[in-house]
C-alpha cells in the first residue's frame, strides 16, 4: 500500500466516524423532543375538545376552557405584527439603503441591534412595565402587552430584514438606477419585492417566538385566569402561555391534563404559522427564480 492510499483510507475512516457521530447527536435530540411531544399528547388529547376551546376557564378542571387566552394570544400577536413589522422593516430599509454605512453612528446602531436580540425577554417586560404601564399610565392592557412583545422581537425582524435586503443582487438594483428610477421607487419596485420572502419568513418566525413568551407578559400584568374576552386596546387580557402556566402550577392531575391540551393548542398554532412562513417563502421564491 502506498503512502497516498494509506492517507486516503485514514481520511475515509475519519469521515465515516464523524458522520456516525453527527447522526447520533441528531437521534438524541430528536428522541428528547419526541418523548416530550408524546408525553404532552398522551396527557392532553382527551381533553382537547371543541368545548375546551370555546369555554371560559373555571375552578373545576372538567368545565374549564381556554377561550379568553386563545383569543388574547391571537389578538396580541396580530397587534404585535402590526406594530413590529412596519417598524422593523422600515428600520432595516433605513439602515441598509439610506444610512451612511461608514459613520460611527451606524456602526454603533448595528452593534446594538445585534446585542438587543440577545437581551433576556424579562428585561423587555420590565421596560414595558416602567414606561408604558406606569409612565404612560396604560396599565396592564392589551396594547402594552403588544408593544412589549414588539420591542422584544424588533431586533430579530430588523436583522432578518436587513439580511434579506442585502441579499438582493446589486446588478438588479443598478439596473433600476441606470434607468433613471429614483431610490424610493427602486426600493418599492425591485428591492422590497425581492426581499419580501426573507422579510416575511423572519417576521413570522419572530412572531411565533413572541407567541410563546410568558415572562414579559407577566411583568406587564397579563394574567392566566380571565373570564372575559378583550374588547378594546385597553382591556385586560390573558394569553396561552399564561393559562398553561396557571394550570401546571395547580396540584390536581386534571389540571395537568388540560394544561397539556393548552400546550397542544399552542403548538398547533405555531405549526400553522411556521408552515405559512414556508409556503410564503416557496411561493414568492418560485415567482422570482
Amino acid at each position: 500500500m502506498t503512502r497516498y492510499q494509506k492517507k486516503l483510507r485514514m481520511r475515509h475512516f475519519y469521515n465515516q466516524a464523524f458522520k456516525v457521530l453527527l447522526f447520533l447527536v441528531i437521534v438524541v435530540s430528536l428522541l428528547v423532543l419526541v418523548t416530550l411531544l408524546f408525553d404532552i399528547f398522551r396527557k392532553g388529547y382527551q381533553t382537547l375538545t371543541w368545548n375546551f376551546l370555546t369555554s371560559m376557564p373555571s375552578g373545576r378542571a372538567a368545565r374549564a376552557g381556554i377561550l379568553p387566552s386563545l383569543v388574547g394570544s391571537l389578538v396580541l400577536i396580530a397587534l404585535t405584527a402590526l406594530i413590529s413589522i412596519p417598524l422593523g422593516v422600515g428600520t432595516a430599509i433605513y439602515l441598509e439603503l439610506y444610512a451612511n454605512r461608514r459613520s460611527r453612528f451606524f456602526k454603533l446602531l448595528q452593534l446594538n441591534i445585534a446585542n438587543l436580540a440577545g437581551v433576556p425577554s424579562i428585561v423587555y417586560g420590565i421596560l414595558g412595565l416602567a414606561i408604558f404601564s406606569q409612565m404612560l399610565k396604560l396599565g396592564p392592557s392589551l396594547i402594552v402587552g403588544s408593544i412589549t412583545l414588539s420591542l422584544l422581537i424588533l431586533p430579530v425582524i430588523i436583522v432578518s430584514s436587513s439580511e434579506a435586503i442585502k441579499a438582493v443582487p446589486s446588478s438588479i438594483i443598478d439596473g433600476s438606477y441606470a434607468l433613471g428610477v429614483t431610490r424610493w421607487k427602486t426600493i418599492t419596485g425591485v428591492i422590497l419585492p425581492m426581499a419580501l420572502p426573507g422579510i416575511l419568513t423572519g417576521s413570522i418566525l419572530a412572531l411565533s417566538r413572541a407567541m410563546g413568551e410568558a415572562a414579559p407578559l407577566i411583568m406587564v400584568g397579563a394574567v392566566g385566569f380571565v373570564t372575559f374576552l378583550p374588547d378594546n386596546l385597553l382591556s385586560r387580557y390573558s394569553a396561552l402561555p399564561l393559562i398553561v402556566f396557571n394550570w401546571t402550577s395547580r396540584p390536581q392531575e386534571a389540571f395537568a391534563q388540560i394544561a397539556a391540551s393548552g400546550i397542544m393548542v399552542m403548538m398547533i398554532i405555531l405549526l400553522i404559522t411556521n408552515l405559512t412562513a414556508i409556503i410564503i417563502r416557496n411561493k414568492t421564491q418560485s415567482r422570482i427564480d
Binding site: D174, A178, L179, G180, M194
Partner: protein
C-alpha cells in the same frame, strides 16, 4: 457632424487611486464609439462617469467636464435621475428584473409616470421591435423574463432601456456573456440603433470593434492613448502601443 458629448480633462478617483487621467474625447451623434483596452484600464469606469453611475460607489470623485446639452454632467447640481433617462446603460451580464417580459419593458416607464397608460401596449411592442426581440416573445409577454435565453435577456435589457426614450446608450461588454449567434444579433441590432441613438460600447474583441464601430478609443492604464475613426485606427494606428494592442501583442 454633431458632437453629442464633449469630454474634457476628465479625472476619476476611487478613493486615492486615480483610475482615469485627463481624458479628452468627442462622442459623435448617431455614431458607435467603441472603447477598447486591456482589463483594468478604465473602460467601465469611463462609461460610469457618463451616466453618473459612480455615485453609487462610495468614496469616488470625478473632475473635469463632460458637456452634454449645455450642462456639465459631473456638476453636483445635475439631476442624475433625469440624466439617466436620457443616457441608458446596458450591463455586461444581462440583469432583467424578476418580473414578466412586458413588466420589464414598462418598469421604468411606469415609475417615471410621464407617458400615457393607454400607450403602454405600443411602448412594449415598439421597444421590443427595436431590440429585435418582438417576434420571439410576442406570444409570451406575461412570462417571466428569466425564461428567456441569455441573448434574449440581453436584448430585453436593451428594450427596457429604449422604452425610456434615451438619446445615448452605454453598453459595457454587452456580448461577452453571449454565444456567437446571439452576439451577431446584437451587432446587427446596433447598426439599426445608431440611426436613432448615439452608442458607446465597451468591447474586448478587436474584431467586434472593427466590425461595428465608427470611432474607437484605446485606453491603457487609465489614459486615453489614441482616439479616432475606427477605419484609420485599425489600418494605420498612430501610437506604437495601439498597434501592439490591436495586433494582439498585449495581454
Amino acid at each position: 457632424m454633431t458632437i453629442k458629448i464633449k469630454v474634457e480633462n476628465l479625472n476619476f478617483y476611487y478613493g486615492s487611486f486615480q483610475a482615469l487621467q485627463n481624458i479628452n474625447i468627442d462622442i459623435h451623434e448617431n455614431r458607435i464609439t467603441a472603447l477598447i483596452g486591456p482589463s483594468g484600464c478604465g473602460k467601465s469606469t469611463f462609461i460610469k462617469t457618463i451616466d453618473r453611475m459612480y455615485d453609487l460607489i462610495e468614496d469616488t470623485k470625478a473632475d473635469g467636464t463632460i458637456a452634454f446639452e449645455g450642462i456639465n454632467i459631473l456638476d453636483e447640481s445635475t439631476d442624475v435621475v433625469e440624466l439617466r433617462k436620457r443616457i441608458g446603460m446596458v450591463f455586461q451580464k444581462p440583469n432583467p428584473f424578476p418580473k414578466s417580459i412586458s413588466e420589464n419593458v414598462l418598469y421604468a416607464v411606469k415609475r417615471h409616470g410621464d407617458q400615457d397608460k393607454k400607450d403602454f401596449p405600443s411602448i412594449i411592442e415598439n421597444s421590443l421591435r427595436k431590440a429585435s426581440l418582438w417576434d420571439e416573445v410576442k406570444h409570451k409577454l406575461n412570462q417571466s423574463a428569466f425564461s428567456l435565453s441569455g441573448g434574449q435577456q440581453q436584448r430585453l435589457c436593451i428594450a427596457r432601456t429604449l422604452a425610456t426614450k434615451p438619446d445615448i446608450i452605454l453598453m459595457d461588454e454587452p456580448t461577452s456573456a453571449l454565444d456567437p449567434i446571439a452576439t451577431s444579433k446584437i451587432e446587427e441590432l446596433l447598426q439599426e440603433l445608431k440611426k436613432e441613438y448615439t452608442v458607446i460600447i465597451v468591447t474586448h474583441s478587436m474584431q467586434q470593434a472593427a466590425r461595428i464601430s465608427d470611432y474607437t478609443a484605446f485606453f491603457l492604464n487609465g489614459e486615453l492613448i489614441e482616439f479616432g475613426e475606427t477605419k484609420e485606427m485599425f489600418t494605420a494606428p498612430r501610437d506604437k502601443r495601439t498597434e501592439d494592442y490591436i495586433t494582439g501583442r498585449y495581454g
